[in-house]
């Protein structure tokens, strides 16, 4: 009998879970899943929320409830978060970055999932052998086409120190899109008469060492392939490149703000906004008719005037200066 009493506090802790606040009836619930914490990536959530707000779904006015969970980089936590939203039958799921999108698509076939900052289903290997893609996946995704334009910028803007342009890259083996992007860039480089020196990096902790090693290989420019490792360690990369006077090119506008020369690529805020517009339409009509996975629409040509001046680079006139 005594043993039973010993368990009482444990039951109390678990019992706390029953004290949940539920949204007022009739208010749609959005489950927003982030896989990890990052300053640039988190702009997608802001864009998504703003798009809902513009369409009359605002948390302040109690017209929508956005439940936000971040897995902080832990896959078991990510699975639990998605399970929680699915079993609470949220009206829709919003997923930010590839891993969150893959987890959600594997855990529900009925609740609509609005993806952002994610690759196309083909690139995420989410299309089964029979070719029937899941019917509950929407949002804004991206293939690798944009990298061609981003990368082609480098020979346009930069002159090689000697004969052939040498571009250094770090890529993360643990991210599908990063390895795919590298393969694409290597095939592009041949046509542009550019030599690629690429080194693998597995975590942001290794970024500084690997960048230093690249810089010792006499590169003309650094191409920041916008994967999670580069986002997380961009300031380290920037510092090392600045010391060696090597300009950084990239394909994401947020990194230009942080110190890269120029980019042609998706704007993470706009990416989230685009997925948010689709989600708002679904909340209005409660039907997925007319919705489909879209390619990212807004890509910007941006440059950083301060950095361009430092390296005395002439930027084509169709580029906007970042603030």
């Amino acid at each position: 009998m005594k043993q039973i009493f010993k368990l009482a506090p444990l039951l109390f802790v678990l019992g706390l879970a029953a004290c949940k606040q539920n949204a007022p009836k009739g208010v749609p619930v959005v489950g927003f899943v982030d896989a990890f914490e990052d300053a640039t990536i988190s702009q997608a959530r802001v864009g998504f929320t703003d798009a809902l707000k513009q369409n009359g779904f605002s948390e302040d006015k109690k017209t929508v409830e956005i439940k936000y969970s971040n897995a902080e980089g832990s896959i078991p936590t990510l699975t639990q978060i998605v399970n929680q939203f699915v079993s609470n039958k949220v009206d829709l799921l919003a997923t930010c970055t590839t891993l969150a999108s893959v987890t959600a698509s594997q855990k529900t076939k009925t609740i609509p999932v609005f993806m952002m900052v994610s690759p196309t289903l083909e690139r995420a290997h989410l299309i089964p052998a029979d070719g029937k893609a899941p019917t509950n996946l929407f949002g804004a995704v991206e293939d690798l086409q944009y990298i061609d334009t981003s990368f082609a910028l480098i020979p346009k803007i930069l002159k090689p120190k000697s004969g052939k342009l040498v571009v250094g890259m770090i890529y993360n083996q643990s991210e599908p899109q990063s390895a795919d992007a590298l393969a694409r860039i290597q095939s592009l480089a041949k046509g542009l008469n550019v030599t690629i020196v690429a080194l693998p990096v597995n975590s942001s902790a290794d970024a500084q060492l690997v960048t230093q090693s690249l810089l010792s290989k006499n590169i003309d420019a650094f191409f920041a392939n916008p994967d999670n490792t580069v986002f997380a360690s961009f300031e380290t990369i920037l510092k090392s490149c600045n010391e060696k006077n090597v300009p950084i090119f990239t394909s994401e506008a947020g990194l230009v703000q942080r110190g890269a020369v120029a980019a042609f690529g998706a704007d993470i805020y706009q990416w989230g906004f685009q997925a948010g517009l689709q989600a708002a339409q679904y909340l209005k009509t409660h039907s997925t008719a007319g919705l489909k996975l879209e390619m990212v629409k807004i890509r910007k040509r941006v440059y950083n005037p301060a950095v361009a001046a430092k390296y005395h680079l002439t930027i084509p006139p169709n580029f906007q200066a970042v603030k």
Binding site: Q21, T79, Q80, V102, K107
Partner: protein
């Protein structure tokens, strides 16, 4: 309530890791860091074999054997090269990253329309309840087998290796072999967890093992608390407590998510809950006579 059921399922998927860490703790008195790598190894072997349309009955032994090889490698480095057990585990874990990436071919492979242990039985129409029955059968099998093993002469010698290595060596037991076998067994269990989790979450990912040893360790420490608290001496009950620990660890996370706290505080609150659970015996109303 459905959500707590999924958390329970996740706890049961991770219970094999907890058993593995429990074994390695018994043998070494320190956790075996190989866990992070061998869990992912179990996951990538599962994903690779299932997506190549291999049957589950070939995949399971393959996962167990490959996990065992990883553990044996740690054991060999530790015993034959006289390298600190913690470092040996770290070295094998680090090397396994490349092995895992090579096996998987890319960093993330979703399982689509593949065979799955969770679709073996169709007792009820609710897939979660089916999964629960299947996981319970697996857990009962594991506890029976490991419980039996630990009671044999071999198992007693293995446990004694952790308690007093010099004494057991004086009795003529080859402690090096004990350690290698024990670690192989522990990592085969860990890989089995990777096998179950990959099917439960629907994909294998190269980063799935990061920090998973902490989950195993947390489960074992919760279990140790319960074992001391209820003064358990039976081996089978101890193993059940370890599995209970793994389930509680996942349920705590589920509770934290349910309360709906700020996402940034998730880990802090989870840690506080676990702290509460393991400190409960210290907070009992009786005066402690320690």
């Amino acid at each position: 309530m459905d959500f707590y059921l999924t958390a329970l399922l996740q706890g049961l998927c991770l219970s094999a890791i907890a058993l593995g860490v429990y074994l390695s703790m018994k043998i070494f008195n320190i956790p075996d860091i190989t866990t992070d790598g061998s869990y992912t190894l179990g996951g990538v072997v599962t994903a690779t074999m299932l997506t190549h349309h291999q049957s589950l009955w070939i995949t399971i032994p393959a996962v167990l054997v490959i996990g065992g090889i990883a553990g044996a490698a740690t054991g060999l480095i530790h015993t034959k090269l006289k390298i600190n057990a913690l470092l040996a585990g770290i070295l094998v874990m680090t090397a396994l990253y490349s092995v895992n990436l090579t096996i998987l071919g890319r960093s993330n492979v979703p399982l689509l329309n593949t065979a799955s242990i969770f679709s073996l039985l169709n007792i009820t129409s609710d897939s979660n309840q089916n999964s629960l029955v299947i996981l319970l059968i697996i857990v009962i099998l594991l506890v029976t087998m490991i419980g039996y093993l630990l009671k044999t002469d071999f198992g007693i010698a293995m446990r004694a290796t952790g308690d007093s290595e010099q004494m057991i060596r004086a009795m003529g037991v080859n402690t090096d072999r004990m350690k290698i076998t024990g670690l192989a067994l522990a990592n085969a269990l860990t890989a089995l967890s990777g096998f179950m989790m990959t099917q439960f979450q629907g994909f294998a990912d190269i980063n799935m093992g990061i920090g998973i040893v902490i989950t195993g360790l947390g489960s074992v420490i919760i279990a140790e608390t319960l074992i001391n608290w209820f003064r358990i001496t039976s081996v089978v009950w101890s193993l059940l407590m370890v599995i209970g620990g793994a389930v509680v660890f996942q349920l705590v996370l589920a509770v934290t998510l349910s309360i709906g706290i700020d996402a940034n505080l998730l880990k802090l609150v989870t840690a506080v809950f676990v702290l509460l659970i393991v400190s409960l015996p210290r907070l009992s109303f009786r005066r402690q006579h320690v």
